[in-house]
Each structure stands twice: as structure tokens, then as C-alpha cells.
Amino acid sequence: MNRETSPFRTPSTGASPTPKHASLTASTNLRYSLTRKSIYDRHLNRTKTSELSKSAFAFLFGEMVQHAQKKVYGVQDLEKKLNQHGYAVGQRFLELLLWRDGRTAKRETRILGILQFISHSLYRAIFQKAADTLEKVRENEDEYMISDNDPLVNAYVSVPKEMSQLNCGAFIAGIIEAVLDGHCFPAKVTAHTAPSELWPGRTVFLIKFEPDVLEREALRVGG
């Protein structure tokens, strides 16, 4: 059998990239490297050097918000749209995250477990920091809160006064919702601005679980 001599393909390097290969792609980052490998040809497990520019993200996110704004009739509608965008990201990201964990990946079956997974592992994987607090809402059995003092998506966003209800963190809420759904904890997640003196952009993600999630949790505690 003839060996393929296309200049566009290099022989498969196996599961982990060799150091030489890694330094080559790291220096050229997202563009095509000398070996003509795009981001899709790279190994999925590269987390160290895969940081992106915050500005580039801010512009992309800004465009997304502007685009979403064109087709909506109000703040709630806009938040729903952003939530949907986030949901699509979350679905994919959960898959990637669990795949990266390999054999140590675990399917969370308890409410507390999944919430900790979100506020630590997921948050760290996306934003390189854990969420700031994870609390339970005292009045309601089915509600939990995750707070972020300075959400990355809101870093450069200043919401105009006439839309004061809006929080673009709805995008992150969508990601959280997708991850919860992916673990079979159907819930509704919303983002709310809750400024404190030190953190004017503090955002709280309110997680409201469906009744059957609590029912199942009660059964497990009972058993």
C-alpha cells in the first residue's frame, strides 16, 4: 500500500502530542500552523495553552448580544435568547469536560454534588476560577444560588438604565442549565444582578429545580 504523501497531513501522533508538536501549535495558536493543522486537528485535552483573548471574547459576546437584541420584544425575551445560546455551549462543554476527566469522570447523582461540580470544576474550566459562593435559598426548598462577584461576560457590559432588569449573565445561566439537564437535574436557571459595595457587577444565578428532582433526592436520602 502506498504511503500517503500529502503535505497537508502528518502521520498521527497518537493520544498525546509530542513536546515538539505542542510548542509548534502553541506559538501559532489558533491560526494554521506550519503543519497545516487547524484547531480541529488538535488534541481535545489541551487545556494549559488554550487560553483566549479576553478582548476577542468581549467583542464576540458583544456582537452576540447585539444580534440577539434585533429579534426580541423586551428584556425577558432577550435573556431567554442569551440563555438559549448559553445552553448550546453548555451541552457541548459538559461533554468535553467529562471526556477530559477520562476514567475519573463521575456522574453526579446528588443535588449537592452537581452544584459543587458546577461551581468548582465547570466554573474553573471556563473562567479559570471557582464561583464565589454556593448557597441554598432558605425560604424555598427547591432553590439554590451560585454567585459570581465579577462575571467575565459582564466585564465590559454596561446595561442602559431603561433595561436595568437585564443581566447578560443569562448566557452563563444557560450553560449551567444545560449542565444540570445533562446530569438529569432539570432546572430553570436565571441570572440576577445583586451588587455589593465592593463588587458592583456581582451576579447571582438562581437555580430552581423541577419538583421530581427533589422527589428523587428525598427517596435517596430515605433509602
Partner: protein, 162 residues
């Protein structure tokens, strides 16, 4: 020019940066903020006229159009296409520094006469503008700046130095 001086006449104690103004490409005033309560106030209409006057003079200098920025670049003894127009205006009571970006947006900073490194201050204001105005999805380009994040960070940058 008289108006510029009027705007800056001081009644209070010496402080470092008095005011920041931002002009859009067309010379319209899109941002104005005082950092010293002792400054004499102008009406918002006067500010608009002031901005327009200044813009005209600056851009005559740089692009051959019609008033302070414009005039200064036209009277420049060197080749007029290379002149960037008025950059510094000094008086007994204040110094004004103008920074024009490549896209034509102008940043004016008014400060105390002996204030050093004003160009650094102007560039930092430009940086904040690039971050908290241009990256804000709710900002419409060339329109007046109403961005809470910009206000906050600008104050945080200028106030502690005073």
C-alpha cells in the same frame, strides 16, 4: 479660546485633573465630566459649542476642514498633511492636552499647569474608552457615552490621584 479659559477658571484648591472631554469624529461632544467641584459650570449647549469650535480648529490643522484644531493644523509652518493639529494648550491656570486617535476621536484632558505626564493620563483614558465603551454591546458608535462601567473606572483612575 475665551470659552475654553472660562470653563477652566478655578475657584477651588489646586487639584490635578479638572475635566475630561471626548469628541467624536464629527466634532460632537460625546462625553464630558468634571472632576473638581470648584470649576465654573457651563451650560450643556456651551459645551457642545466649545467642542465644535475646538474640533474645527484641530482638524483644519490635520485635514484642512474649519475652526481651533483645524486652524492650528493649517497654520502649521510644516507640510499641513503631516500636522496632527493642536496637542497642548497652556495657560496660567490650566493646561489642556488633546489626543487624537487614528480614527479621529479626540480626548481632551484639562489639568493643573504643572501636572506632569499628561500624555500618560490621556492614553489611559483612551484605553478605558476602548474597553468600557467600545466593547459595550449597548453603545452606539459616535453617540453620547452613557456607560456606567466607563464612569466608574474613569473615576477610579482619576480620583485617587487627586
Amino acid at each position: 479660546m475665551v470659552m475654553v479659559i472660562m470653563a477652566i477658571q478655578l475657584t477651588g484648591i489646586n487639584r490635578v485633573v479638572y475635566a475630561v472631554l471626548i469628541l467624536n469624529k464629527a466634532g460632537g461632544l460625546i462625553y464630558q465630566r468634571d472632576f473638581n467641584p470648584g470649576l465654573q459650570k457651563l451650560s450643556s449647549n456651551d459645551y457642545l459649542i466649545l467642542a465644535g469650535t475646538f474640533h474645527g480648529q484641530v482638524s483644519l490643522a490635520s485635514a484642512a476642514r474649519a475652526q481651533v484644531h483645524a486652524i492650528t493644523s493649517q497654520i502649521s509652518p510644516t507640510n499641513e498633511t503631516t500636522s496632527s493639529g493642536l496637542e497642548v494648550l497652556e495657560s496660567e491656570n490650566f493646561v489642556m492636552r488633546c489626543f487624537q486617535t487614528l480614527t479621529g476621536t479626540k480626548f481632551l484632558v484639562f489639568a493643573e499647569p504643572r501636572q506632569p505626564n499628561l500624555d500618560v493620563v490621556v492614553r489611559r483614558v483612551y484605553e478605558l474608552y476602548a474597553d468600557y465603551v467600545m466593547k459595550n454591546p449597548f453603545y452606539q458608535i459616535e453617540m453620547p457615552i452613557r456607560s456606567e462601567g466607563f464612569d466608574r473606572h474613569l473615576a477610579a483612575y482619576i480620583k485617587p490621584h487627586q
